[in-house]
């Protein structure tokens, strides 16, 4: 089954055979439907986990009550029933999304700046040659992107661009090629049915 399903998706990429292309499209649509159904599995998992937390009154159980409340609100108000005023244009749905979910997501994204700073403080220590190179190049990149320093010293921009476009790009391209080849080898192993680590009871000695 794995081999058939894989060939069904790979062959139409290289061969222009309309019936095969139609079959691949139908299979892809079927997968999308299965994935959409899997969304409910996730909701059930959330309700199970948080339901037990509320039932056992574990530490922070009231947060689980909040999860329940918002899951129910968003599920009900987001139902695709426009004739009842529900769906994407529902005011409550939009209010919660715009005033709670979006700002929370933005907040999480923005605290990355502080995480980067704390990680940099730990990482940028010249313990050896490699670390010293990371420290120097990182400092030059930061300086080359700050107008406070690039205005009086314009060459910083050229240096930071060179670091990004030459050694960094070469390394990244090498990693990308290697990763792509690894993915191909993994796909070939899956196609041949010998990669079973992700299957039930697979990878046994």
């Amino acid at each position: 089954m794995t081999i058939i399903a894989t060939l069904l998706q790979v062959l139409p990429y290289y061969f222009d055979i309309p019936p095969l292309k139609d079959a691949a499209g139908t299979a892809s649509n079927a997968v999308l439907l299965i994935v959409a159904c899997a969304t409910f599995v996730g909701v059930i998992s959330i309700l199970q986990v948080h339901g037990k937390r509320v039932q056992r009154r574990v530490e922070g159980w009231y947060f689980s009550v909040l999860v329940f409340v918002f899951v129910i609100i968003m599920v009900l108000t987001g139902l695709p029933l426009a004739e009842f005023g529900l769906g994407r244009n529902n005011s409550i749905f939009n209010w919660v999304f715009t005033n709670i979910q979006t700002p929370l997501g933005g907040t999480m994204y923005s605290i990355l700046a502080f995480f980067i700073t704390s990680a940099a403080v730990r990482a940028f220590k010249a313990r050896n040659i490699e670390a010293a190179i990371v420290l120097v190049s990182g400092t030059l990149m930061v300086l080359g992107n700050a107008p406070l320093f690039t205005s009086p010293i314009p060459v910083l921009v050229d240096i930071s661009l060179w670091i990004r476009n030459v050694p960094n790009m070469a390394t990244m391209r090498g990693v990308m090629i290697g990763a792509a080849l690894g993915a191909i080898a993994l796909a070939v192993r899956t196609l041949m049915g010998i990669e079973r680590g992700y299957l039930r009871g697979g990878g046994e000695e």
Partner: protein, 261 residues
Amino acid sequence: MAFLIQGRIFGLICLLFIMAAVAYYIKQAQAGKVPKVRRIPGIDAIDESIGRAVEMGRPVFCSHGIANLRDATTGPQTIAGLSVLNYVAKRCVAVGARIVVPVRQPEVWPIASDIVETEYKLAGKGEEFDPDSVQFLSSEQFGFSSNYMGLMMREKPGANIMVGAYWAESLQLAETGSRIGAMQITGTAQTSQIPFFLVTSDYCLIGEEIYSAGAYLTNDASLIASLAGQDVGRIIAVVLSFLGAITFTMGSRILLDLFAM
């Protein structure tokens, strides 16, 4: 040959060549000639991290990334992460460590849960499996990230193993794991996230190393042999890059025309 799509013929030839090389080395392995694989410290450290978690009486967190299984570039990373999860679950069951698996994609949750449950059953400890140990957290990227971070702050895992496709939340998760003192083994093929994992984790699998994790951990001869076939593809890429640089510098477009065949 009219049904071959223009512009993809050379790619098909390369793919067939790599597949033939993988098949050749697998056949060689089945005849007893198994190629040697270099040590990958990050994968070797998985057992050490699980042992450390057991000694500390703390759980093991094992995440397989935040991508689904359908995407062409990130799907293989998720499969690689699930292969690692398979091994980690087996080791945790063997040593009695509690495993927690945070999940972002609902379509992957049943697979991850099945992997962990199967390892418990294979060890004869089916009744010890806790379904809540494989938790679907959120399909939103930062909903998953904040939930995972909160889990780590509360549970304080002794080991945090993250192998798969990650994006911006990679630094948040790895930094949090570092702050709580967990031994971290990370790995991704997302080039933009590799630097973050490198500076925040104890061991980092870079790019293709995550795809070889499954073969390395199971020590299966066929899987290890397929890594040699993968190296044939690498040799092809290097030779073509070298030839392409030379021919293009000399003003010839022969290789470009070949790629566009």
